[in-house]
Symmetry: D2
Subunit: 388 residues, 4 copies
């Protein structure tokens, strides 16, 4: 990564444009890519580094070049030090990869706040797109993938015709001809005003809302209950989140966006949504760590009442970052081989995917099939319809 732009292999380098480029997830993505590419750490959590993906033609980790938008300031090396102080990153890692952090930091451009900006939507999209195109041009990148890892924004009112910030960034990605990944529950491309643009874009995209904890578990446990013909009566859960996402999701609108994805997993796997609520609490004392408690009340033979409880204690950034790298590599390669439009084969990564199966095991199967297709020499073109 971050090779000088004039190296001979520049055509093989891939850009990663992060929306929310100074956040914890983005900082972990840049730090971890450097650490893994250089062999400082094994590729734990990177699905695309496992054997089934060896022949898929994915861009190498060392070929990724990072940039992005953010409305916040604060240099990336400093953000990495803060994460190390909080135990999210190994404490000597930020200094070991300081060059790569600085290089990415130099490619971060100011983000937009639509409400505070006097420019109209087209101007905003054009300005954001120009930042991305400039990044691609200066680094002579083969292509770039835009990834939304910004804090979750409140769900927009149904009657509001304005595009929320996440949709402006998504539109800019399309305009710049980049693949797009929405790792958050924010609107992104899921806005009626972008439907035509997306359909005509000629780029692959995937979303939304990365599946990193409670919903990941639900995607393996709900199928188990269904397969065993056990009747789930109530599925209740509480998420305790510190960090930026906890505060963002304390907004009831943002929580609603996130919970829609959670409910969908249960509905699609169980055939109906059982009783029970999901709470998302902002607990700043937890820092970047999150805890999810789930309580599943189910009935077995002859109506006997039983209970499964799960407690998931993870570090949000460490869970998200490798999936972001996976998605970047897969979408970049899909772009390279000519696949366009929504990629249901990537449902393995999302709470609220663009179609495809809903049980994790089947989603994994679909992902492996996709890995195989990506490895074929010259795909005959876009076969999205078949794949769905």
């Amino acid at each position: 990564m971050s090779l000088p732009a004039d190296t001979p292999d520049s055509e093989h380098r891939t850009g990663v444009w992060l929306i929310g480029a100074r956040g914890s997830v983005a900082t972990t993505v840049v730090t971890g890519c450097a650490a893994t590419a250089s062999g400082l750490h094994p590729p734990t959590g990177l699905v695309t580094e496992t054997p089934p993906f060896a022949g898929s033609g994915l861009p190498a980790l060392s070929s990724l070049v990072f940039g992005g938008h953010d409305t916040a300031n604060g240099p990336l090396p400093k953000r990495a030090e803060e994460l190390a102080g909080a135990g999210v990153l190994p404490h000597d890692l930020p200094s070991a990869v300081r060059d790569e952090l600085r290089a990415a930091d130099a490619e971060i451009r100011p983000g937009v706040r639509p409400g505070d900006d006097t420019r109209g939507e087209p101007e905003l999209v054009a300005a954001l797109s120009a930042d991305i195109e400039d990044f691609v041009r200066r680094h002579r990148l083969a292509r770039a993938v835009v990834v939304n890892v910004a804090s979750t924004e409140p769900a927009p009112a149904a009657t509001d015709p304005r595009l929320p910030a996440s949709s402006l960034y998504a539109a800019a990605a399309l305009r710049a001809g980049c693949g797009y990944v929405n790792f958050t529950p924010s609107t992104g491309l899921h806005h009626p005003g972008l439907a035509d643009t997306a359909a005509a874009s000629g780029v692959p995209y995937a979303g939304r809302d990365g599946k990193t904890g409670q919903t990941l578990l639900r995607a393996v446990l709900a199928p188990m209950f269904a397969q065993r013909a056990l009747a789930v009566r109530a599925w209740s859960g509480t998420n305790l989140l510190g960090g930026g996402d906890g505060a963002a999701l304390a907004d009831p609108g943002a929580a609603a966006a996130k919970n829609a994805g959670k409910d969908r997993v249960l509905h699609d796997n169980l055939g109906s949504v059982p009783q029970g609520e999901v709470h998302i609490d902002d607990v700043p004392a937890l820092g970047d760590w999150k805890t999810a408690w789930d309580h599943v009340a189910f009935e077995g033979f002859l109506g006997t009442r039983m209970v499964l409880q799960t407690i998931w204690q993870g570090c949000d950034s460490a869970l998200a970052a490798p999936l972001v790298l996976d998605l970047v590599r897969l979408v970049a390669r899909a772009h390279e081989v000519g696949l366009t439009g929504p990629r249901p084969e990537l449902g393995f990564y999302f709470k609220d995917p663009d179609g495809g199966p809903s049980a994790l095991a089947e989603q994994y199967g679909a992902l492996l099939d996709f890995a195989g297709r990506l490895g074929d020499d010259r795909p005959a073109g876009n076969d999205t319809e078949e794949a769905r």
Copy 2:
């Protein structure tokens, strides 16, 4: 069930011969079959009553006739009342199905205690087999399946040439020409002295050790960690069991047998066995209820340490009984269509199956394939080799 032996449809009736016929699982099997067949309760927990099995030609629940061996006394209706008093069965159900309980009770024959018996092994097997054959003959059954649901016996010493009780019963099943299911971790057919007999038997069989709680969870969670490239460092667990099984498994030998199955699930799904132990505690105060706590220490991206914990609180008999009925129906139908030998397609049900995949989702897929094959009109014969 338990129709008079001379009804016209006698050829369509299937015998269920339970080893441990007065135990909690067997009592729940008989009670629950009657309750479900008569429509008193929905078929919750019965996988074979779900749509994918509708065309498999399985024997109807109402066509099952029960009998069995047990070394204990105590009439089945009374056992059912005790289970109702303990909350394992709905409290008015034993009286509602008293006729069926009495009919099964009349078909229970005394079991054997090899150590206390002066007869040699061949005589013991012949006597047990004669009981089963007599049952089949008197009821004019199309066939019968023998199921071991007795308390777990200690693992026999490697140097002991004598067959343990579970193996005597298994040998009797083969001799009587019956399909055989070992729902416990006891030896059963897995004894070197029975290998040749089993190979020549011409009946289908399946085992061993029903997957009803902690291992069921492990069979869905371990694949999740593998698919996400997360590194499981330690998987620790504690099982609290009341009832007969708790006491039986307090014996270190019996616990060792059970734990071998648990370890196998982790090994086969993760590629290696992580750190951590499994404890099985006898806690009589829990009655027929069991609690399993699991603690999974895993590493994510950049070595970040995270934890998943699960707590499963279930009723052992209610979890096991529908699986026993499923297995009886599947093995009976396999027998009918001419399939013989070990059935790896039934790994969905077992901790320590006879081959086949190790992740629950794949085991479920194999089971559905099997359901399809059972529904074909005239199977071309035994294709065990292919199936494996």
Copy 3:
């Protein structure tokens, strides 16, 4: 209990007037008192049956006579059968104590719904009081204690001058000269409009909101953190409740009332309220059972972050009923020996007590002291001020 009114020892009998007399708690109170008084069950959960209370002069369980108000219909024996069907009561107990259930049922009078009633508050209070006085007179009771065990009502708006139903019942208790216990978080005597009446009433009273689960645990765990100088950073919790209380507390107003008590326990024991929220979810599938999960994030030496989690799975009625009987006996005896006004010595039983210490161990100490004072032959009069 429920002796004919003309027996010689009528002067020693004590009335128990239950607001919400057909609810699960009240039904369990009546059933359990009969079962325990007659020796069918040991007095598990009854603190007043332990040795320290032997000399306190409390009314015997067999001397309690039950009646009450309820807006619902449905005979008490039938309610008890329903609870037995749900596993809340032993399934043969309702028939064993049917006479006592019938006797109590005959003494239940229709409750009031202030919003639907054309009578003014004074008339309503007078009518309710007349019901209680009539009960006392007909049974020639020495005295009676009125206990609110009705579903939690929404917290009234601060600007609403009208008395909520719980306060009307409380006023009726005072007017009838009865001791009063508020086992719920509803307003009861805690209404500014009742302050003068309460002060002048000459009866003892206690409240509010019985401490039966999560808050009970908090009252022992919070002191532990304080005593060990550990810094609690966040205390989060979720309660899953079925039954009537779950539905009542799904109302945000009612939940707010309940949570105020929970927060108070933390504040009084820790010196401040840590981060974290408390959720109360209505989960009808749980029936009368409740589950409370608590997550305590605390810091130890040098800021090391640690976590305690607790999971409490209990039956609400079985937890509440013995405490109601304890409180009735203690308040009746306090009344007998001339103690009046709020009784801070009973803080052991309440989330939001009328003064006294906040740690459970100290509350227990205060209760034992009180038990000693109740046993003194002729207390010199009301010494409430001293006791506080």
Copy 4:
């Protein structure tokens, strides 16, 4: 701490002699004392820094001078770096207190391995004692306290007349005229061969086995069940420990020593030991962190079965270290004011204390009383008998 020995206030300095001085607990004690004394960290977890102890005349943290015995090598600053790398200590703290770590490191003398040593017990004790006396003399300390924080040793066979290592160190402490604290379950002073020496020693001592996790919780929860008259039927638990203690306690003998203390807490608070086992598993992947799961099956009113579960996730060294500092200060001050023999007032800190109450709240009360007595100007002498 670690002032030059010739400073004017040398008479006010107190020695802390740590057995196991290079272990995680000892390293955290030295690091944390320096960090707290210098104001780098608040005194979280130090009970003796709370207001009730302000007037007790305890030695200041800044007046403590560290030394000790250890059979291991490895400089203390390096050990602290390792702990920081594992997240046990703040990662910049070891360098901030390097001087203090070096000073303590210079005072660590080789420990003994009785089985590998040709010297007799008296010679070994004399040699160890000489190390301590030399330390006190060179630093002109007012006095010193010896604390055992070494790995747990297997319980000695009842028939073995030899003193285990922990008892040799304890004997050396007495011989050197030092107060003694046994923070581990090892034998220490609890050896019949040391009874007379201890009785005649004229020094205060306390033990054994610091109460830092599961047993701490049990000491607050068991009294709750007793006070509420709830019937505990089974109390089961599993401890997962990494670090040195996990490996040491994997030895069944060592685990037996530890579990005796745990059982004692239940017995003394509940009146009998309920069903259930306690497991201690060595899980190296957890490092210095430990997890304790407890499952309490209890019965409430009318025999209703309920369950409490607790999960305690803590850092062993961070939990133990402040208690060690507390004990050193309390025992040093007791020594100063002339108190001798076992100190039951310190039961707050131990699983298996030398008498005193068994509920944590009462133990805390006894500790506060003790703090008051220590603050009296000139105690009239040793009143141990009264105190018990």
